[in-house]
Amino acid sequence: MIDLDDQATKDFLHSGCALLISTVGRNGQPRAGRAWGLTVVDAEAGVLRLLLEADDPVTVANVRAGNAIAVTATCVTDFQSIQFKGRGLTVEDLTPADEAKRDQYSADFLQDVYLVNGYPMDVMQRWAGRPVVPCHVVVDSAFDQTPGPSAGVAIDRGNA
């Protein structure tokens, strides 16, 4: 498993990279979603705090139930991607720090998208300020998800 205490890894995960979430329901149905901020809470234990979309009750319920989760972080500018696998732990109460985190993440993410694609910022701002629900997940494995022949290769401390 990748070293979550590594500063470069932390910087990447705390940046404006695109955050994709997949959970799985009891019937095996995967569900794709987005997160609006990620914080490494406990690097040693692999605990991440994710800001899920509040208007996606299925994903929130899957996390609350402790179901399996995949989290992919993709750099908007060069598609470098890491995918974590783990499971849901808890759904937390929203704090002012979470809202600040969401606002900062949204600004960073949309700015990166703007810089590389030049979409009108006023249109992209439609995505900013979404209601979020914080949750904790624990991850125990990481994979290179960058498009190309190495996609899916496990990342360990040695090859991160």
């Binding site: 997949s22 995967p30 979603g33 399996a68 696998k85 439609r126 996609a151």
Partner: protein
């Protein structure tokens, strides 16, 4: 918009590649996987095809568990949709596969990865439901180019082109007319080389750098793909596709499957978003490729393909006509010595490298290949005999040019050389003096130097 009323046809803009789709799958044991997708195609109003180049985990998952979840974003309104999919089959041939393969080839061509980046299969999914994640208004659509300019503009351009006496003039008139009459602000014309393996830029319009003489391999980039397939090729989200293509290329470079790429100084905008290349063909044979660019995303559509194909065809016909005229031209007159050029004081230093035919004028790179060898032959003759008037036919007899015996493209090489000399404001110029004849003007005294 009501989700119950939505069909895939209502989501068409989501499939143009500007914003990557996201697919989530899960293994039989319930381990999820989520990844970006470069290409999603609408098969019909109920089915989608996902390209499979590297999605080994996704493919393995749907073989075990056919359920999938897809996120799509409308690149105009930023509305987002979540689709529940069920895997049906995998196509490795047939029309859906072919369509996806064309698009994968476009991405591969952007970074010179045609040999390694290939579509393996097209995974076909049935759409079980469409959920609107967020719904926003769509700005009004812009009017098409032909609605603005009208068919009369096309006819006017064709008429202007038909009045041109040679290929060089016609290409200039075509590119300027595309801008003036039809608002294609940025365009270039590339011609196929004698071996049919490379395209070289003969003229450009509206770019920061003219790029005359720049080359690409057939198959590389949007223009190369149009040359390879003989069909128009357009990309409407060039920046996004280029970034994806670059990411894949870097991954292949790390694996050692491909070497570092070359920088090709083609005429291009600083931040192009859309590029359309139309093949110039006559008698079923490729002559070259006409290319237009725009800084706007998805700037070109089917109508633009039609307009550019028409203009490219006219240029191809002129190239063919010139070639036929050259073949029928009178034998060359015996070279006659002429008076030395006017400005004896200035020295023009011409360095030639036979290995690749490259020519440097006063220390500055000019051109290479056949065009370089042609110029070297001309200046050698001028220095030896004072000759300034030449016939194309006598050049064809010059074995040092290494021209193929059939369809040598010499005429277009001369047009290229003439334009390159003008672009570089060189002290040597070429002027056409009649059918199959031309003159070189030299502002100075030549000093020739060949490097073995």
């Amino acid at each position: 918009m009501n989700a119950d009323d939505l069909g895939l046809r209502d989501l068409r803009r989501c499939f143009d590649g500007r914003i990557p789709a996201v697919v989530a799958t899960a293994s039989a044991s319930g381990v999820p996987n989520i990844t970006h997708l470069s290409l999603v195609h609408e098969v019909d109003n109920e089915r989608l095809a996902l390209s499979n180049q590297f999605m080994s985990k996704t493919s393995r998952n749907v073989a075990e568990n056919p359920q999938a979840s897809l996120l799509l974003v409308d690149p105009v309104s930023f509305s987002e949709y979540r689709l529940i999919l069920r895997y049906e089959r995998t196509d490795r041939r047939g029309p859906v596969f072919e369509r996806l393969r064309d698009d994968v080839d476009k991405v591969a061509a952007l970074s010179g990865m045609r040999d390694v980046f290939r579509l393996r299969s097209a995974d076909i999914f049935r759409v079980e439901s469409i959920e609107i994640v967020r719904d926003f208004d769509v700005p009004p659509a812009r009017a098409s180019r032909l609605q603005n300019a009208g068919l009369t503009a096309c006819a006017d351009l064709a008429a202007r082109m038909s009045r041109c006496g040679d290929l060089g003039a016609m290409v200039t008139v075509a590119l300027e007319g595309l801008d003036e009459l039809l608002a294609y602000r940025h365009s270039s014309m590339m011609l196929l080389d004698e071996q049919g393996q490379r395209l070289f830029t003969i003229a450009s319009h509206g770019f920061p750098v003219e790029g005359v003489g720049s080359e690409i391999e057939v198959g590389d980039g949007v223009a190369g793909a149009a040359a390879l397939t003989g069909r128009p090729v357009r990309v409407g989200a060039l920046h996004q596709m280029q970034r994806y293509s670059d990411a894949v290329r870097r991954a292949f470079e790390r694996e050692g499957a491909v070497g570092p790429g070359q920088d090709i100084p083609l005429p291009t905008l600083d931040h192009p978003e859309s590029r359309l290349a139309a093949p110039a063909m006559v008698k079923g044979e490729l002559i070259g490729v006409l290319v237009v660019e725009s800084p706007l995303v998805v700037a070109f559509d089917d109508e633009d393909e039609a307009v550019l194909t028409m203009v490219a065809t006219l240029i191809a016909q002129m190239a063919q006509l010139e070639r036929a005229e050259q073949d029928a031209a009178d034998p060359p007159a015996v070279p006659q010595a002429v008076e030395a050029v006017a400005d004896e004081a200035a020295e023009v230093h011409v360095r030639f490298f036979p290995e690749d035919g490259s020519i440097f004028l006063d220390g500055n790179y000019l051109i290479r290949g056949v065009a370089g060898r042609v110029l070297w032959s001309l200046v050698q003759r001028h220095v030896a005999t004072g000759q300034r008037e030449f016939a194309n036919k006598e050049l064809r007899l010059d074995k040092s040019l290494d021209l193929p015996g059939f369809r040598d493209n010499l005429d277009t090489r001369l047009v290229l050389l003439k334009r390159r000399l003008e672009e570089r404001e060189a002290p040597i110029r070429i002027e056409r003096t009649g059918r199959g004849r031309f003159r070189i003007d030299i502002a100075g005294t030549l000093r020739l130097e060949a490097h073995d």
